[in-house]
Amino acid sequence: MKKITKLAAIAALSSQLAAPVWASETEVVYKFYCAQCHGLTGDGDGPNVTEDFPVTPRKFADATEMAKLTDADIRNVIMDGGPAVSKSPMMPPWGKTLTEDEVTGLIGYLRVLCACEGP
């Protein structure tokens, strides 16, 4: 059932995108930057998450938690880092690294991973 929901979310996202290429570019961006800590599939298990990693990175597959975040919350934490939303500085600010379009793409990509929408 969860799989069907995820597929539906992917279909919905795909229909919103101007070009499918954009989605694949976003996946490249996600896997290059975010997956280091959040894991390739969004389970919060990237190779940086060793036993001394002081926090648990957000699991994007966790729909319950992700549904509590607005798209604006997600944008803020990506751009300005964890402290921008009272979370850990282990999430660094990516605002000087990513373009606005890349961040927008990532927000959509995370919504696919969680198969959820914001409040």
């Binding site: 390739l40 940086n48 060793t50 000087k96």
Partner: protein, 221 residues
Amino acid sequence: MKRKLTLLASAACLMTAATASKADPSAGQATFEAQDCVACHYTEGPARETTIEDQLAKTGPELWYAGDKFVAEWLTAWLADPQPIRPMQFNSLTDENPGDHPALDAGDAADVSEFLMTLTSGVVEEGVVRVKKNAKGRQIFTKKMPCSGCHQYEGRGGDIMGGRTGPSLVDAGARLNPDWILAYLQQPETFKPVKMMPVFVGLLSDKDMANVASYVANFGR
């Protein structure tokens, strides 16, 4: 007279020995090419990568600014006995570093190191960073903008701490030029325009970047 001749002879011997043991950058370049090091490492700047795909297509780090980046003695020793610097294989989030970098014999290592140390960007200002136990740098490295999230380092009890996607910084003090660390933080677009590490320009002041460089360059000293 006899003593003078002996001195001259000794000086001549020393000069011969020095000449014989002096590393040769031209020979090093020839070895670098003959060993096909260029298959993984490019040596002519400026940086070529403009997209993530460009970066992912590489199989080893660029070396066109090796002379800015490395400490010569470390580089010579490493080329003769290469040990993994990155916990993970270059550009991989799934595979461990296999530690299979080819080793050179001592003479070739000295020559190749000499060659690589001639490669510079021209933008690194020398003598800027003072290496010391830098409390401010430590606070940034471990807490404020935790470099430790992606880079290994030696914790207070001697334990190896930190993340695994970036190069280990455990022996950074022996390996890296402190002034290059600062320049790398200040001018990421010059050295590595596309990289997994965030850009900190505009987030950390030049002073704080120098503090981080000072702290990191003290590792292993």
